[in-house]
């Protein structure tokens, strides 16, 4: 079967969700409340199509002129007024709608598309046509007529409306696709979400995906677990990677399996970040490391590293280490994860440190996603041959000393290896204790080993 011709939205991640873009000759309802970004998205798609040498007609049903919309769009990086009106034509349909009703509007759309030889037409303000309709039947007739024209002519059609309907409503049944742009409120935050409810003629990435509106326009972040890590890859057990701590490598019988994911758990102050810096510090030119920190700033990390003899500046200068920091305050995890995977590929990283996995955990909003999120990330990292180390603070409160399993149970099934760094009270003193809790299918030293933190970093006893 030949593939159906697509019209790219110009937003790679939205095209990914749509399995390649909108279908040419398809009619789509783009629905969302005022301010959801429908007009921005439609103009962004229009601008992208024009950049691909296409032609677009944009019909508005607003009573006011286009000036305000143009003023707003002029702030957007994608908008190029130089192409007006040659390949992107803005047409007001308001007067025609007032004068000749829905039949006049439908005819205007058709005649403008034919006149401009457009491959994409956008009708902004469908709700105005609905208000003008003499009956719901007349409105549905308009939708049917527009959809039929899109099919016949091969001209893709976007119908923008703020009217929310039931999923089974006839309008949604008639068109080829329905994309909803909405808000979700959780934990005091408001996040934008996009969902493709219906799409004829191909698979889509179902479910809700977050998006932002910036000066670049709409940026869509597909749910990580929906787009990556579908294939389960196993760690390459034969190749071992140094943990950066020589005695730990001995306890691990040679090191960590290449492509494995390790969770390093411990309460604050036990040296998890120090251990992570040592892991990062053993990166080489052929096996560079990307270090993503959520809590400690790059300056603080560099300072901390210099205290244990890890020359981060030198590692960074030789591209053995790529240090990044993201504030954990109100991040979109799918945005960060998408960026992270792209950056790992870009720099050819073979090691990854996520210092403070809670940066992801706390921002997922839907906490039940963590399992699927981390599994997808882990699978993708394994397929890339990247050995990952995640640090995680123990979450139990008021328990001292912390039991060995505290903070482990939740994340343990999602990673290959689990290491703990704990504080233990003994002989009226607090000791730091390191232990290996889990390394699948391999022998390891299961003893509890005390350690200190000195100029050489983590120093395991014995």
């Amino acid at each position: 079967m030949p593939e159906l011709a697509r019209l790219s939205t110009g937003i790679a991640t939205l095209d990914l969700i749509l399995n390649g873009g909108l279908l040419r000759g398809g009619a789509y309802i783009l629905q969302g409340f005022p301010g959801a970004g429908k007009t921005v998205l439609a103009n962004q798609i229009a601008s992208s199509h024009v950049r691909d040498d296409g032609r677009v007609v944009y019909v508005t049903l607003l009573s006011e002129g286009h000036d305000r919309m143009m003023a707003h769009l002029s702030q957007m990086a994608f908008f190029d007024p130089a192409v007006l009106p040659g390949r992107l034509s803005y047409v007001s349909g308001y007067a025609e709608l007032e004068k000749n009703g829905l039949p006049g509007l439908a005819k205007l759309v058709r005649s403008e598309v034919e006149r401009q030889e457009a491959e994409l037409v956008i009708l902004d303000g469908l709700f105005a046509a609905e208000e003008t309709a003499s009956s719901s039947h007349a409105f549905r007739r308009l939708i049917h007529e527009l959809q039929a024209y899109a099919h016949l002519s091969g001209c893709t059609m976007l119908l923008l409306t703020n009217s929310r309907r039931e999923p089974g409503s006839p309008e949604y049944t008639m068109v080829d696709g329905w994309i909803e742009m909405t808000d979700v409120r959780a934990e005091g935050r408001v996040m934008r979400e996009l969902e493709v409810h219906k799409f004829r003629g191909g698979g889509i990435v179902r479910g809700r995906h977050r998006y932002r509106i910036s000066e670049n326009g709409i940026e869509v972040y597909p749910r990580l677990e929906a787009v990556v890590g579908q294939q389960v890859a196993m760690p390459t057990g034969n190749t071992l990677v140094s943990s950066g701590i020589a005695k730990l490598d001995l306890m691990l019988r040679g090191g960590l399996s290449a492509g494995s994911a390790t969770l390093l758990v411990g309460p604050s102050g036990t040296g998890k970040t120090i251990a992570a810096l040592q892991f990062a510090g053993s990166a080489t030119v052929n096996e560079p490391c990307l270090f993503l920190g959520f809590y400690e700033s790059p300056e603080r990390l560099r300072h901390k590293a210099s205290g244990i003899g890890v020359d981060m500046a030198g590692l960074e200068a030789t591209s053995r280490l790529h240090l990044h920091w993201r504030s954990p305050a109100e991040i979109l995890v799918d945005e960060v994860a998408g960026w992270l995977l792209a950056e790992l590929r870009r720099v050819g990283a073979r090691r990854l440190v996520v210092d403070g996995i809670a940066g992801f955990q706390q921002n997922l909003v839907e906490s039940e996603r963590m399992g699927r999120f981390l599994t997808a990330l882990g699978n993708e990292l394994r397929s890339l041959g990247i050995t990952a180390l995640y640090t995680s603070a123990m979450t139990g409160h008021g328990q001292f000393p912390a039991p060995a399993a505290q903070g482990v149970a939740e994340l343990s099934p999602l990673v290959d290896n689990v290491l703990t760094m704990r504080l233990v009270e003994r002989n009226e003193a607090v000791h730091k204790v390191f232990s290996i809790v889990k390394v699948p299918d391999r022998d390891f030293d299961p003893r509890l080993v005390t350690y200190t933190i000195g100029p050489g970093g983590i120093a395991l006893a014995g």
């Binding site: 000759g25 058709r110 034919e114 007529e145 039929a148 016949l152 002519s153 091969g154 001209c155």
Partner: protein, 118 residues
């Protein structure tokens, strides 16, 4: 003004196509399938426009039957379909429009057929 017989089973598509032909000043006889087209066929029709896939009687069948009528063999035929034109009807189709196409493309093709005939 020419007399055009337009056979297309999808009503709204037929309306869209008829509209551009009427705007060009032609008289359009509309049929919803091949059987209806044969029933509405008049001797002075100038151009036949037909979809290929229609219920009851498809485009190839009814046009073949129409052309066997006296004086109809030379009437220009324009066929339309989303699928490529089958070889067996390529011989008598003056033009073929593969869907999707713009309605104005049909108007131009009809005009071309009329110009050739005259």
């Amino acid at each position: 003004m020419a007399k055009i017989l337009l056979a297309e089973d999808e009503g709204i598509i037929r309306m869209l196509l008829a509209e551009v032909l009427i705007e060009d000043g032609h008289q359009v006889i509309e049929a919803g399938d091949g059987q209806e087209a044969l029933a509405l066929l008049v001797p002075d029709v100038d151009v036949i426009v037909s979809d290929m896939m229609m219920p009851r009687l498809g485009g190839a069948e009814w046009v073949t039957a129409a052309r066997s009528r006296p004086g109809m063999a030379s009437v220009p035929v324009i066929l339309m379909s989303a699928l490529p034109l089958p070889d067996e009807v390529a011989g008598f189709a003056m033009a073929f429009l593969q869907k999707p196409f713009r309605p104005t493309a049909l108007a131009r093709t009809v005009q071309h057929a009329l110009n050739r005939e005259s």
